[in-house]
Symmetry: D2
Subunit: 355 residues, 4 copies
């Protein structure tokens, strides 16, 4: 694996936040030119906004554009009030992103729900499309009667190539030619590189999406470059692989030990069992290289990507690099699809009063 | 309602068999020119084949072409062996229809599943598409490796306009332009005009289909004329309206009385209760106009379409002309979708040995 | 069929309202002793309350007790605000019924959802049970921590005999012995005798229920007599048979003709086509026996039950007496299950503030 | 945590095979008294049979009885022929287990499907119950007509306590008292301690089951001791936690390094990237304690349970010990439920000829 391949490989995450984190872990602050990162707390929810400038594309491994995330990790499953607040914050952020790209209230929109509706953790796109308020047919069939406080919106779930035999990009492209929307919104389930983000974060971006990009096939990107109109993508990481889980855990383990040693000044062997208080680990909790070596040997001092590569080599050939999803995926998908479809409806139809 | 509208209205049935029956009930045999009707019994199942010539189109109210039906009324729900036999007969008939239109084994096919997969009696198309064996992506991505005993097939369920905001025809047309198949197979759930056919018959035709044609909207037909390639349609009547149920029953009632009188020579009033033996009624069981009047008054002597129109006038304005489906629709749809998808796979991939 | 059997047969409706209507159609007002009927309009919804006294049981063909209905026919599918109003009215009426039987706020409840969750129009019970707030395990496991503003509630969907091999009554009885609730609430999908009520009415009663009682099997009733505790039943008619549809329509037809003649003083033959205005028919619209005979012959003058019996004899032996449900059953069941489960939760937990 | 608690904790696996493996890893061969282990290969599938004698119960942490497993890891998803072979082997092994406990062909059976049918990886029990052939109602209602080549079988899915408010054991116990079966078969989804077994193994045992035993609540066991009749349990591990994934991977990592060093005699640092050939690791691949320390520090020389405990302490307090299931859980559950229900039907009805 040469350096270029390594770089590509590093970018496998579907989440810009993770890509930037990777980079931050590897380069010093000074080299952050071309990446603007902002963090905010809105109604108790963490919102981030990353702008990647063209000159930083190669370094970050993400296309130039704006990447926003909404952290929903504090929301309890099926907790109606919390979900409503998160939905409102999501709608606001999405509206901001649309305005950032000068989308007007009269611009027409096509919503595309990617993914396979028979595979629960991959069904986010089709589930959202089911709940999007569509109006294009009313504009077409009854142009004089239609309530123009609603934007002209259409929506389709084009299925997955393995079920249709057709490249998803091709379905979208032919549809865009026919429907001629002013902009596209694509909704998809993503892969995360961290167990902590699965079903806990919504990403919005104006850079489009590359369907199934992580899987190794060269797929055409669904973006402004390929389609000629702005393409917004909404995604939630719903799966994570065993490599990420293990890599995360080793990282936590080192920080846990580092933090405990700092606090308690005692050797690891005596630490079992640790206290069971909730911990938040930061990079500063990482112990010294000597301690890392003591506790985790050479593995303890591997760089992030080296560590992942090593684990991948052990798991992948034996078919053990399972891509997994939380046991409660059914209810979590319901909540996420409701949140996103309601928020999307609000952002797309800003002149409509929703109850 | 002028005569022309009446004619249109008469043709509301999605089934050619019903359209021809209507006509047969109204016109004498001599006028049957341009309609060829054949009936066969294959492995215990009734198969019909109707050829409508261009000169008969106006009279029948159906497009010129071939209409085949497979009567599955003898099959018991979830009876695996009977379903397998019916599937094989269906595959054979469909193959004959493809050959009738000179479809070659190397011709490429796009399968379109019409209907709404969230409305059980309307989900036939999407359910079949889910089980169709698709290969087009393999021909595209790995042309040298693909097993060419499989035909190049792709498949998509484009949803319904109320959910997508896009005319179904437009989705199909844009896809046909992109995928460029040699022929199209469209699968859809139909409306029946008779309670006896609901979920009990499969129609195959080479004349295409007009999505939602019965509902009153002008929709573009999905056919060879509009798309430039042969369009085969496979349909099952899964719903029936209250008008048809009532009209059927009044008809049965008259024939029942006629038959009983013939057999037992006694007056109706004494016939209650009738024997409960299974009866098959034919047009010859219809009693004389005088007896019809005696038992059912003026209604007893209405022409079929007059009767339907009268009933419709009573039910429709009050919202009582319910479109209904059998209570067991879930299991019946499963059986039908399995039968049709397996049969379609056999007809599309004749060189493949299915177990 | 002797008179006693006839009487039994007449009572096949699951709805007391229909049973009383049948009776009202047959007997004069004076003989209504023992039946108290009240009608009310609450927030735009028609609510009825029928009390059947023990002395009227034989005449009405319904057990003694209170039968309340909520007419939801004005609600549009998926119309959130209307559904919320109806849910609140339902919760109030159910609370009144519980109080009518002296159910205290601390009495424990077992909710039973009858029906087959794989048969959409029969899934009401299981769907409601899924959304009932249960607390009994918290009372058992953490008696000191449980929020006692919630009643102690448990819930189970015992399946149907054809799937379990066990009489539903037996499952319920064994569970009641174990769980020892103070009262039972049973939720079930019902059969209607009228096309106008399918999915349009909720019945609440304190007389329990006889599972599948209409189908001809002798099944043990789930009621206070058999179980020793009050048994409330909540039901919605979700299916109707072809006999009812035809009988209804013939009835509408006669009234339609009668009304039209009165209004327009012209003969039937000239009435085609009638005006398409929405009509509400009452018994006073029935034309004279002579006119009935003129339009519908002997059938026009049959008593309701004679007419149904005649139609049944014609349809049933040929397998054409389909039990049907509206095409939109999937979405209508969703709405009904949400309405009933939310209303039930409010009625069972009156001290809880629901958002 | 004292030694006794540690012992309990070690036995958290639902799989006897894993419990025995744990033990084998800790104790020498000589101490294996009371545990008989047999392995066989039938039609290409690995079958194991473990007999735990009463004297070994404490050591193994599993109840005395027979534990059989069928390894289905070689089966490709939806591969019909392979699934059929596995189903037949499963049916044979289950029949052997029934005979081992002297179950007669005329003994009556109650099948219980544990789990939550709305949580895909927990729905195995309800899914199997849906496909079990039940006959008890026919024996009850039509004793003279019933086809006695079928065993008297009933089946129920009692739901989960969080949905019903009733201890699952209580539902089962009350049902057993009522139905009085001669033996019980309980089907449930299990938790695995190894990523390699998820959805890849079926366990059959005559020792019953403890519902949700791993979750920490004291639940009554569903077994012969509590119910007075033989209780057979069929289970598939469908979930695994992040602790197990990480622990497994660290183990693989050490063995991978050990094996590579042996084969290639070079230092680890130079091993990146390793070859990507499929590897099977055995305990002999574990490198020396010194090398383990070199590569993985103190963690490399932790005992299995110490390692799991350490990882658990890091992940659990932060909510990161996700219980996960493979992304393809929907299709894998379908295959497993079909395999088990068909196999169970064959084992329960040995005199019936299945096609």
């Amino acid at each position: 694996m040469n350096e270029q391949e390594m770089k590509k490989w590093q970018c496998r995450s579907d989440l810009a936040l993770e890509a930037v984190e990777q980079m931050v872990g590897q380069v010093n602050e000074a080299s952050q030119e071309g990446v603007k990162y902002e963090e905010d707390n809105i109604k108790g929810l963490k919102v981030t906004c990353i702008d990647v400038a063209p000159e930083a594309v190669e370094r970050v491994g993400k296309k130039a554009g704006r990447y926003m995330t909404l952290d929903t990790s504090s929301i309890i499953t099926h907790e109606h009030d919390q979900l409503t607040v998160a939905m409102e914050v999501f709608a606001e952020q999405l509206s901001k992103l649309l305005k950032h790209r000068d989308i007007k209230e009269t611009d027409t929109c096509l919503v595309i729900g990617l993914g396979n509706d028979h595979v629960t953790p991959d069904a986010l796109g089709p589930m959202v499309v089911d709940e999007v308020i569509v109006t294009r047919h009313l504009y077409e069939l009854r142009p004089n009667e239609v309530d123009r406080s609603y934007r002209e919106v259409s929506a389709l779930a084009p299925g997955v190539m393995g079920m249709t035999g057709i490249e998803t990009y091709d379905v979208i492209e032919s549809l865009v030619k026919k429907v001629k929307p002013d902009f596209l919104v694509v909704v998809d389930a993503l892969a995360s590189r961290s167990i902590t983000r699965v079903n806990k974060m919504i990403q919005m971006t104006d850079t489009g999406i590359a369907p199934g990009s992580g899987v190794g096939n060269k797929r055409k990107a669904v973006d402004e470059e390929s389609l000629g109109i702005p393409v917004f993508a909404i995604g939630v990481p719903t799966v994570v692989d065993a490599v990420s889980i293990t890599s995360d855990t080793i990282d936590f383990l080192l920080k846990h030990i580092g933090k405990s040693l700092k606090e308690e000044s005692r050797s690891y062997k005596k630490l079992v069992p640790f206290s069971s208080a909730r911990q938040i680990y930061t990079d500063e909790d990482l112990p010294s290289p000597e301690l890392r070596e003591q506790f985790m040997g050479q593995v303890g001092n591997l760089e992030e990507e080296e560590k992942r590569q090593l684990i991948s080599e052990v798991l992948t050939p034996n078919g053990y690099n399972l891509i997994v999803t939380p046991k409660e995926i059914d209810t979590e998908m319901e909540d996420l699809a409701t949140l996103i479809s309601n928020g999307l409806n609000r952002a797309l139809h800003p002149n409509v009063q929703f109850s």
